[in-house]
Subunit: 333 residues, 2 copies
């Protein structure tokens, strides 16, 4: 055994290394079972392997393994209308009698008519503003309860299931896989922090403090001797498009090395991630599965994927073809 001059202990170490490497590779395959073998899965596994190999040229220390994910259309569905808009519809409807001035508001009219085209054309901001007014004066605790109550009863129009059933299993696996490899996972969403925090920890394993989103103004008050936070009728920060890198800077303070989105609202977050030094991963979910989920991209009013897709093709970012790359979309299917 020592004929080659290599000490036996070194051979044993080498054999051990091979054994460890093959068991890691097998663990990889096991940790992303809903992903078909293909370029998308391979690019993820290759990236994670490179940045976690100590001594390798692309090694990244654990504290810099920051991974950011858009929510709507990336971690859960967003059609036919952002789920938060469905919630808002009910909230605004309930508050309407107290706000006769809304009868002339285009966002209010579009929301009441469920006019998705008009809502999409208006964008998120005027609708968020309506909601901010609708819930103004409510404590954050009461608002949190109204979200939990709604999520417990509301059903998605296509699937007739609670909205929280519409999280993507392959993305849940990806989040867990990244964390198992020392990454810290964050949500960076155009949706409001309050709407995600009540369920994201259970659905994604992401705690409230790792959720970056749109922020309404709140105010500290003491009412009848009891401290509370009251919602004010104003949006303070919109975490969408160019707001996403800003939200990352404010809330995380490190440039991510891994980012996943699905629409042009994620374009700047992907650009910001790509702009850092060293190995980076940029990914997009392309909705190609009208049967199991929805199929939409450049022409969609909700979750339009156009400029970010062009950039992905140009720079070789990973584009997930939902129909072909995922053997499972939702847990209930």
């Amino acid at each position: 055994m020592r004929a080659s001059g290599v000490p036996q202990t070194m051979i044993s170490r080498w054999m051990l290394a091979v054994l460890v490497a093959s068991s890691i590779a097998s663990a990889w395959a096991q940790s992303l079972p809903s992903w078909n073998d293909g370029p998308a899965k391979q690019s993820i596994v290759k990236f994670v392997s490179e940045v976690t190999t100590p001594g390798g040229p692309n090694f990244v220390a654990a504290e810099h393994r920051v991974a950011v994910f858009d929510n709507d259309g990336t971690l859960w569905a967003e059609q036919p209308l952002y789920f938060q808009l469905a919630f808002m519809l009910d909230q605004v409807k309930a508050a309407a009698p107290k706000h006769p001035e809304w009868n002339d508001d285009p966002a209010f009219k579009a929301l009441m008519a469920r006019d998705q085209r008009a809502l999409a054309a208006l964008g998120l901001k005027p609708v968020l503003k309506l909601l901010a007014v609708a819930n103004s004066g409510m404590t954050t605790a009461a608002y949190d309860k109204s979200i939990r109550d709604w999520l417990a009863t509301a059903k998605h129009p296509k699937f007739q299931r609670p909205y929280t059933d519409l999280v993507y299993v392959p993305m849940q696996e990806l989040l867990a896989y990244l964390r198992a490899n020392g990454f810290k996972t964050f949500i960076v969403s155009g949706g409001s922090i309050e709407f995600m925090r009540p369920w994201a920890e259970k659905a994604y394993g992401i705690p409230p403090e790792q959720i970056i989103g749109t922020i309404s103004e709140t105010k500290f008050v003491i009412e009848a001797g009891k401290p509370a936070l009251t919602r004010m009728p104003k949006i303070d920060f919109v975490d969408d498009g160019p707001g996403k890198p800003v939200g990352i800077y404010r809330g995380i303070g490190r440039q991510p090395i891994f980012a996943f989105g699905n629409s042009d609202g994620d374009w700047q977050m992907l650009q910001w991630t790509a702009a850092g030094d060293g190995r980076r991963f940029m990914g997009l979910v392309h909705h190609t599965d009208a049967e199991r989920e929805f199929a939409y991209d450049r022409q969609s009013k909700i979750g339009k994927l156009d400029k970010a897709w062009d950039d992905a093709l140009k720079h070789g970012w990973t584009v997930v073809d939902m129909k072909h790359d995922w053997n499972k979309v939702f847990a209930f299917q």
Copy 2:
């Protein structure tokens, strides 16, 4: 051994429990060596023991063990002037030739004259505003570098040492002790996030994403094909006084069960922490040591401790007497 009818395995378990309990108690004493035995240390250890005892009446699940700390005067010194103000002085001085309009600005005049009384009377906001203007147009990367450069060379006027040497050893021990007991530790400071993030991880073991602070407006830009974040001449959020519970809500999304401050700027954070259900810990550092550090409270222009102190006395919050409770203040002493 079985005379009492108690099975031997049960006795063994009980003996093991006693052994474990006494080794934990001894570990406690060891993990806070710079704290003298006294009511402050005892109240900390008692609280942590209660909320981490599984099955106990005050047990708190690990994910809810959120601990928040003010920075200036709580984790490091703040006299004779907030250290960030010393940095600002140099920054504003360097930018002054480009801003002749500042000659009529009270905050600018007070800063140039190092008029601490006037600066304290003006409060943090107009000074932060000056700095925001001074650094407007700078990228966040360039700003980060200017802070690191300053910290590497500037010296504290009393101790003639780098400002980052002025962190309190007992508080470093407390942070580590809480984390060892499953707590997640956050800074919630009136200072700006940028000024703390470059050194807080090394000094306190608190990563950038767990630092809540005052936020200047930034904007995502692409210059010469390269994405960057540029600083705008506007303060977006002031994380001080009633802003602290708001900052906690925005950045953490959970009500803390443990809070430590040292001045009236921390009052609302302490009230907000106290307002939650179950066992809570509220602590104040009282600066009583003119020799090793500084002595100040109700009459101080910087770090005034008045209303929060009254509340502490009224509600039995823990008040640390620096002179008597800490056998060491700074590592270099």
